[in-house]
Amino acid sequence: MILSSGPARTVTPSWRTVLARLRVRAGGGDLVTPALLLLPPLSLFVLMIVSPILQSIWISLYEWDGTGPATWVGLANYRELFADAQFYVSLKNNALWLVFFLLAPVIGLALALFLNQKLLEMRLVKSLFFMPLVLAPVIVGVVFTWFYDPTFGIIAILFRAIGSTPPAILSNETLVTFGIIVAALWAQVAFCLVLFLAGLSQLDSEMIAAARLDGAERWSLFRYIVLPQLRPVAFTASILTVIMSLRNFDMIAVMTQGGPYGSSTVLAYQMFDATIFSFRAGYGAAIATVLFAIMSIYIAVFLWHSLRQEARER
């Protein structure tokens, strides 16, 4: 204790004097300290996040190949985008991703309840469930591609064992998106599981004991005592899942490259494809802007909700 607080004590006054001096110089305004403290994070935020977003929106108004001169085209990229059949395929897939990805918090919660037992063996089981979290998504994608291989894959082997023809999941224009979602879900479930396990460890044990005394049974205990306490976690888990589902790109790049014939693309992949392979930075930026607009809705909901919660807690 003494050792650790010692140096801090010597540092604090010197900082204070520096700030006090600055305050004097600035004419005694109390705004200087917060302004100074906010400057580094704010400038980083502007430099790394706000300015690229604005730049990207700006580029979307140009026709540009990434190196040569850019020509101003106004909203032509957007007009083309809204007439592009591929855009609607991507949009539909984005919607599928969004809906089915929301299974992740549900399955994650169920698994968390199951794994939240104080048994020694459970540690091993837990670590098995955590595994996809430490694997790079690209690796998960490659492994699932092998599962789905219609000749050598494990799914093909299972289907043949029961005497039926295996589906070629990644070659089928309707199944392909679901195939990729399942692979991505595997990792996302683990992510939600970690969040819920952390949430479960924070439960108020006195409240549970009291509820037990009042005769709460399994379901009513879960529904009225446990679940309300997990609400903030559940909220975070689902918003993060939504955002993850919208920005998913790596799995698609690894598993199908948007194929067969563009039927598994999402907006993020289409943006990459347009910019990198077709040399159309302006068009890619327009897709990015649309994606950003969609994401902003969820981010706004998230911000509004957490700000309100903070206000309530105060």
Partner: protein, 420 residues
């Protein structure tokens, strides 16, 4: 003066400052003189073999030219494709490896590559590199030194052909007959992996070259001919035959081009229209089991055009040491160096006057020499965006040949928009 004030404290510090400044200045001068003798090379040929060969060529060049230091920045192919557009503008190296053809012209159009026409004349490279000159030319100027090239054609399982009593087909009808025979004995006639799209291009390119000739093919690549032209429809009719008869492997888009090779080597499939990667992906003891024949004749009277994909190396127009870079390219172009570099990458050197120790490579050089003319590859000959849309269309056609009209209309709409 310095000596006088050296005793005083101020003098001492001043002397230290002067000395520091001197060190700094020599440092700058040293850096400048070193820079004049440093040759920077950016390359995406980063496979272990090519890396070693490149490092050796650089070391030989250094020992022949004392005072010169060669710095090579290796990078993987895919990220190089994205970074080259930045570094050519911002920090151009002295030498950059790249693809030839349309992908080269994308840069020469913007004056990012140095004109090498005089260099070719001085080094007398026009003759030994003749089949590859068109690929590195924009108008009548040369912009890249071809380093190596790839040939394409049918790779087949020799045992299966022998068992079925087949010989390499010479015409399209013979090819279809061979496929029918293989199919009847339960063997997949053609294996192909189209997940990464490009393997399909060979079928389109070759059918178009064999049916309509090189001039029409290149006009189509330049956006001057239509995808709804009856000549293109004919190509797709020809292509539809093996598809509709089930000669292709099922679910081709589930496999990457590499994943489709084992079907051939394991005797489950008879043929694969691809490049020498078929051989290099397999262990050496299997090489003798795999044979090669060129894409057969489709329409009698159409001369023998081939697909030869040429890679090369350029001097960016922003390079600092252009003279030294040319000196290096001249050294690199020497037959023994260019052959060693190609051999290390299991590709063919872009000089027809070299002798190679490997009979397969020699046969491929002959194959290239025999061509009346050559295109490169769909995604190198046409606009990159057109290529992306076209390749997706081919992938869809292979899975759903009945959608041919919608696909061709889509392709042509894209062509009209892109080549406006």
């Amino acid at each position: 003066m310095l000596g006088e004030s050296a005793m005083t404290k101020r003098g001492l510090s001043r002397r230290a400052a002067t000395a520091g400044l001197a060190v700094l200045l020599t440092g700058i001068a040293g850096a400048a003189s070193a820079q004049a003798q440093t040759l920077t090379i950016n390359t995406d040929r980063s496979g272990a073999g090519q890396k070693a060969a490149m490092t050796k060529i650089a070391a030989d060049f250094e020992s022949k030219n004392p005072g010169v230091k060669v710095v090579i920045n290796f990078s993987d192919v895919e990220s190089y494709k994205t970074s080259i557009r930045n570094f050519l503008v911002t920090t151009p190296p002295d030498i950059a490896f790249w693809f030839t053809g349309a992908r080269m012209r994308a840069f020469t159009k913007r004056n990012l590559f140095e004109d090498l026409t005089d260099f070719f004349a001085e080094q007398k490279l026009e003759e030994p590199m003749k089949p590859f000159i068109a690929a590195v030319s924009d108008g009548d100027k040369r912009f890249m030194l071809p380093t190596n090239f790839t040939t394409w054609g049918f790779y087949y399982n020799k045992d299966l052909f022998e068992k079925a009593g087949l010989t390499p087909p010479k015409t399209w009808d013979e090819l279809m007959a061979a496929a029918a025979k293989l199919k009847a004995s339960g063997i997949i006639p053609f294996t192909i992996g189209t997940r990464d799209l490009w393997a399909n291009d060979l079928w389109f390119d070759y059918l178009n070259l064999r049916e309509n000739g090189l001039e029409f093919h290149m006009a189509l690549m330049d956006g001057k001919e239509s995808y709804t032209d009856p000549r293109i429809k004919k190509v797709f009719e020809l292509w539809a035959e093996p598809i509709k008869k089930g000669y292709f492997i099922e679910n081709a888009s589930s496999y990457g081009w590499q994943e489709a090779i084992p079907f051939l080597s394991q005797g489950k499939a008879g043929m694969y229209l691809l490049g020498p990667y078929v051989r290099t992906s397999l262990p050496a003891e299997l090489h003798d089991k795999i044979g090669f024949f060129k894409f057969p004749e489709v329409k009698p009277g159409v001369p023998n055009f081939e697909e030869l994909s040429v890679n090369g190396v350029a001097i960016p127009s922003g390079a600092k040491n252009k003279a030294l870079a040319k000196q290096f390219l001249a050294f690199f172009a020497q037959p023994e160096n260019i052959a060693a570099f190609a051999k290390a990458g299991a590709v063919l050197p872009s000089r027809i006057d070299v002798t190679l120790d490997d009979p397969f490579s020699m046969s491929q050089i002959e194959h290239a020499k025999a061509a009346k003319g050559s295109s490169q590859f769909y995604d190198r000959d046409t606009d990159p965006e057109m290529a992306q849309i076209g390749m997706r269309g081919f992938q869809e056609f292979l899975a759903n040949p009945e959608r041919v009209d919608t696909i061709l209309q889509r392709l042509d709409a894209a062509r009209v928009r892109i080549f406006k």
